[in-house]
């Protein structure tokens, strides 16, 4: 079969220049079905004993042609497709797409809608980080924090369900604002989550951070320097873990993020442990933002006046947001018709995953799993 290169093709294709008998190198195939690769990711490892000499990712198992589909749907119809990119953080994707189309249209979203969007997006950032935390820690062997993280995520998903009817693929926003207003009791429920979740995040931290086994498994594992991050185009917590203070919510604020007061956690060593600390601290900061946004939620309309059939002017825009995984960008090309001419999704997971080869080379087999986890990839976004 075509992509069973490992089994059918001679070793030459997969590990060129290496005949199996000559060296001690073992070519090991990991995936695409595997409990720990967070989706259908196939990784081909060239091992010398335990040490990884080379690593190659084979992706495309979840390619659904979303960008092609976009050219055959109207601008509004494409909204639900966008949720399926990074399905653990669907609200974020929706925000990015809506912001891009609104920029193309020149529409200004009302303040209340912007605040609502911020609340829901930050809640979704919390949910996404909880999934990351649970699965990453599970890969390294600690089975319990997964259940704690998912239990707490239920509260957030309940909010989504009450708001828009869906837990995961929410299609929360529309072009021009929000479809539904905050329901009765929304503020109380969200503030309750903020109060509850802070100590619970500290609970996860206590279970994991000081644990010497955890420290041994994550310190100096998967180190990537700041220069390499920028050369690879890496964004998000991976970039911040390497010490670069870069967060689009602060540097290029969108949707009223400039109204809120929050910090950007930065790591120093660029290893797995620093990225873990950065993401956990980001969860605390998200709670801060949500509290400010909920308390400051003002009255007003929730959607701008947008024509029924959206026909943006001819032109292109690139708009990006700080999604939980990194910089999620939408490059939209419009030719004036009701359907997009081209939608390009700039996927943070796809671009971050390139660095796997650099980060894992020279490390041990058991670390590869940790590194894939720390990159926090979602195959829906990698493959689209």
């Amino acid at each position: 079969m075509s992509d069973n290169r490992f089994y059918d093709s001679p070793i030459e294709e997969v590990a060129p220049g290496n005949t199996f008998l000559d060296s001690n190198e073992l070519v090991l195939n990991m995936g695409p079905q595997h409990p720990s690769t967070h989706g259908v990711l196939r990784v081909i490892l060239k091992l010398d004993g335990e040490k990884v000499n080379g690593i190659e990712c084979v992706i495309g198992y979840l390619h659904r042609g979303i960008e092609k589909v976009a050219e055959h749907r109207t601008w509004a119809q494409f909204g639900p497709f966008v949720d399926r990119l990074d399905y653990t953080a669907a609200v974020s994707n929706s925000l990015g797409y809506c912001l891009a189309v609104e920029k193309l249209l020149g529409v200004e979203v009302p303040k209340r809608a912007q605040y609502l969007r911020v609340i829901l997006t930050e809640l979704c950032r919390l949910a996404s980080h909880q999934v990351w935390l649970g699965t990453h820690v599970l890969d390294i062997g600690a089975v319990t924090p997964l259940f704690y993280a998912f239990r707490d995520r239920e509260d957030i998903l309940n909010v989504f369900e009450k708001y828009c009817g869906a837990r995961l693929t929410t299609h929360a926003f529309r072009i021009g604002g929000c479809r539904w207003d905050a329901y009765a009791g929304f503020a109380e429920q969200v503030l309750h989550i903020c109060d509850d979740l802070g100590p619970k995040i500290d609970e996860y931290r206590d279970l994991i951070t000081g644990n010497r086994i955890w420290l041994q498994r994550t310190k100096n594992v998967g180190v990537i320097s700041a220069e390499d991050c920028i050369a690879y185009g890496i964004t998000g917590p991976v970039l911040r873990g390497s010490g670069v203070e870069w967060d689009l919510r602060k540097k290029q604020p969108y949707s009223s993020y400039e109204d809120f007061d929050f910090d950007i956690p930065i790591g120093t060593a660029g290893d797995t442990f620093d990225r873990y600390v950065v993401r956990v601290e980001e969860m605390h900061q998200s709670i801060r933002i949500i509290r400010q946004a909920t308390e400051g939620l003002m009255e007003g309309p929730i959607i701008a006046k947008v024509p029924k059939v959206i026909k943006p002017p001819v032109g292109e825009v690139y708009v990006s947001i700080e999604a939980p995984k990194g910089e999620l960008g939408f490059f939209l090309v419009s030719n004036g018709s009701a359907m997009p001419y081209r939608v390009r999704v700039r996927p943070p997971s796809f671009i971050n995953l390139q660095a796997l080869e650099k980060m894992a080379k020279g490390s041990l087999v058991a670390d590869v799993v940790a590194i894939i986890g720390t990159l926090d990839i979602v195959l829906g976004e990698v493959d689209r």
Binding site: G106, W180, I302
Partner: protein
């Protein structure tokens, strides 16, 4: 204790009545391309002259349309002299009816200046584009995806092969002449054992 949602639809807080149009912000004027002139554009025009076909701003976003012969040099210039050290995105658009149907788009970013710039260049069908992997390692997979989806080859790319589609797939899906329902029947029949279109 947050309550588990019941089956009833949420009761929305009554929004502002639609009879107060003043509440909705006035629609901003639709964006039009404006010519973009600044020091950066001046420097580029001085260096590359007619290679820079156009420099404009649309919806507040600056872009340059350059000639395909100088596009690699322009990108390098932006990187080295003007500090655009980040390659945010690299993609292509297909305009089948145009004389040069493929438009390569590079989106560069300068962290120091917090500025983005888009560089676009047109290529003919079958023509190769220059690679930027010598400067940005992260362009590797992005160029592979452009090759996979559009068929544009990149001279100097270390490992140009398909990335999202299976290796033996024929056809480049994001081209406009590729029907969205089309499959590579030979591949599907051979590897999945079914007739495509099911």
């Amino acid at each position: 204790m947050p309550e588990v949602p019941d089956g009833n639809p949420p009761n929305p807080v009554p929004a502002q009545a639609a009879t107060t149009p003043a509440a909705a912000p006035a629609a901003a004027p639709k964006p039009v391309p404006q010519p973009w002139d600044c020091e950066l554009v001046q420097q580029l025009k001085n260096s590359y002259g007619s290679g820079i076909h156009d420099a404009a701003t649309f919806a507040g976003q600056n872009y340059l349309v350059v000639d395909r012969a100088v596009c690699h040099d322009v990108l390098l210039y932006l990187y080295q002299q003007l500090g655009y050290t980040s390659l945010t995105d690299l993609t292509a658009v297909h305009y089948p009816k145009d004389e040069l149907p493929f438009e390569m788009v590079w989106i560069l970013f300068s962290m120091a200046a917090n500025e983005r710039v888009r560089v676009k260049a047109r290529f003919a069908d079958g023509e190769s584009a220059p690679t930027v992997t010598d400067r940005w390692v992260g362009a590797n997979w992005m160029e592979r995806e452009v090759y996979d989806m559009f068929g544009i080859r990149f001279t100097g790319h270390p490992d140009l092969r398909r990335i999202l589609m299976p290796d033996e797939w024929t056809g480049h899906p994001l081209r406009k002449d590729y029907d969205p329902h089309k499959q590579d029947e030979v591949w599907v029949r051979k590897n999945l054992g079914i007739e495509s279109g099911q």
